[in-house]
């Protein structure tokens, strides 16, 4: 698809950056709204998925990287599966979030916990090479200032044999550490 540039160079740069990250073309979207119609999280979003695509098309980077929706997208890929224009909407939501993370954009307060969860989860992987669920849940509860969240579930799960009290670590933690150091040193 040939694109005629009409916006500012900055706007074009943002759009092209997202296109590169998704290995696709957001320009193909003709705003039918099908992606938003099937989105399971649309209820909680401030911008509908098709609106996020529109912001990327016209290169409004600040608006796109500051919305709640990019942190609320569950990555269910329903939108991408159904798009008549084969736009990779789920990848766009993720790519805009990556830009926000790389540029240190603070997620809006209503969705702060989703970013916190991601970080706590990944730090657990960095440390053990595998997820240590109870440790991760406690870490999340502390960092999100809700120490008693789901506390009643712990003992029940323990009785059902679904909780490990000690982490199952990988034997050689070097390779995992190296992956984190090389790719996400700031985490």
């Amino acid at each position: 698809m040939v694109v005629k540039e009409i916006g500012t160079p900055e706007a074009a740069r943002f759009r092209q950056d997202i296109n590169r990250r998704i290995a696709g073309q957001v320009e193909k979207c003709y705003q039918c709204g099908k992606c938003s119609a099937g989105c399971p999280i649309a209820n909680e979003m401030d911008l509908m998925p098709n609106q996020v695509i529109r912001l990327v098309q016209i290169g409004l980077k600040d608006k796109a990287t500051h919305c709640r929706s990019i942190w609320l997208c569950a990555g269910c890929v329903t939108c991408t599966t159904r798009c008549p224009q084969e736009v990779e909407i789920a990848s766009v939501m993720e790519a805009v979030r990556h830009v926000a993370i790389e540029e240190g954009v603070e997620p809006p307060p209503e969705v702060r916990h989703t970013a916190t969860f991601t970080e706590v989860f990944l730090r657990s992987v960095r440390r053990h090479g595998r997820i240590f669920e109870p440790g991760m849940v406690m870490g999340f509860n502390l960092r999100s200032c809700q120490p008693m969240k789901d506390a009643e579930k712990g003992p029940k799960m323990f009785l059902k044999g679904k909780l490990n009290l000690l982490p199952h670590r990988v034997k050689d933690r070097g390779p995992v550490r190296r992956i984190f150091q090389r790719l996400v040193p700031k985490l």
Binding site: L122, R130, S144, K160, K162, V170
Partner: protein, 291 residues
């Protein structure tokens, strides 16, 4: 043929019942599996949500280790399966991601380990006719809804698993057990809220409530799943859904391997049917199986 088996973190923790029933089913059917040596977490949603190359690199590390056992890696967890296939695809089609990942893992990798799910092995390799011959305890009298969620079927171009809007592979396999299957229900491939279980529990409770209502309306005695996240969310959040929406959910949520194992003659304990939060006692009673 021998498969390198990647259990993943959940199957050794909160989804222990999936792990133990999957191993028991493979053993009962003579499907040879050997654990991937020193496998690592696939990063699940947070991995790629945070950084694309990070998500790919974690799966690639495990697939490189899998090669020491076999070039075919069997995965049960829907998230690990999805991430492994997505990572292979990225290594094949995205040179800049591949370059970053190869530096981070310190080895070349061309995305060439074949990733298969036990459902695919049963359907395509083992064969439904052969499976039928192994059924010793028919599950007649029980009606179940097969719930697939997101990760096994989407994105369909890369997963190439089954029809993305109406998959039927679990139904085909469970049909060999004589269980009655809900034909039409609306939420087969809807999202359960997935990784928001902790961060936005309200979203998960809403999604789960809709899924359960749809399955109950279709007359299901249980929900059958192939994903640890679907199981955890649908099983553990029923109380909260009842409170928030004034419902009366009490629907057991079990893994397909648990039902299949039962039909293959394994005991409820061998397939971990005592582990779900919503009791499976009623199901076993319907089947006249003593716990």
């Amino acid at each position: 043929m021998k498969y390198a088996y990647f259990p993943g973190c959940s199957l050794e923790g909160t989804a222990k019942d999936f792990g133990e029933s999957a191993r028991a089913v493979c053993q009962a059917l003579g499907i040879e599996i050997q654990d991937v040596p020193d496998w690592v977490c696939c990063g699940a949603t947070p991995g790629h949500a945070y950084d694309e190359a990070l998500g790919v690199a974690l799966s690639v590390r495990t697939m490189l280790n899998a090669k020491r056992v076999s070039n075919s890696m069997m995965v049960l967890c829907a998230a690990c399966y999805n991430r492994a296939k997505m990572s292979n695809h990225a290594m094949k089609t995205r040179p800049e991601i591949r370059a970053k990942v190869e530096t981070a893992v310190g080895e070349p990798y061309a995305g060439d380990v074949e990733v298969v799910h036990l459902l695919e092995v049963l359907d395509r390799q083992y064969g439904l006719e052969n499976l039928k011959k192994k059924i010793v305890r028919p599950l007649t009298g029980l009606k179940v809804a097969c719930y697939y969620g997101c990760l096994l079927v989407r994105p369909p171009k890369i997963m190439q698993f089954d029809d993305p809007e109406n998959p039927t592979i679990m139904e085909r396999i469970l049909a060999t057990t004589g269980v009655e299957l809900v034909e039409d229900w609306s939420h087969k491939v809807e999202c359960c809220g997935a990784a928001f279980a902790m961060a936005r529990t309200d979203v998960v409770v809403r999604c789960v409530n809709d899924i359960l209502k749809s399955a109950e309306a279709a007359g299901a005695d249980a929900l059958v799943v192939a994903c640890p996240l679907c199981q955890a969310n649908c099983d553990m959040r029923q109380g909260e859904a009842n409170q928030a929406f004034g419902e009366h959910h009490d629907l057991p949520v079990v893994y397909f391997t648990q039902l299949l194992g039962l039909a293959l003659g394994l005991s409820p304990h061998q397939v971990g049917l005592q582990r779900p939060m919503i009791s499976t006692g009623g199901l076993l009673e319907k089947l006249h199986v003593g716990a």
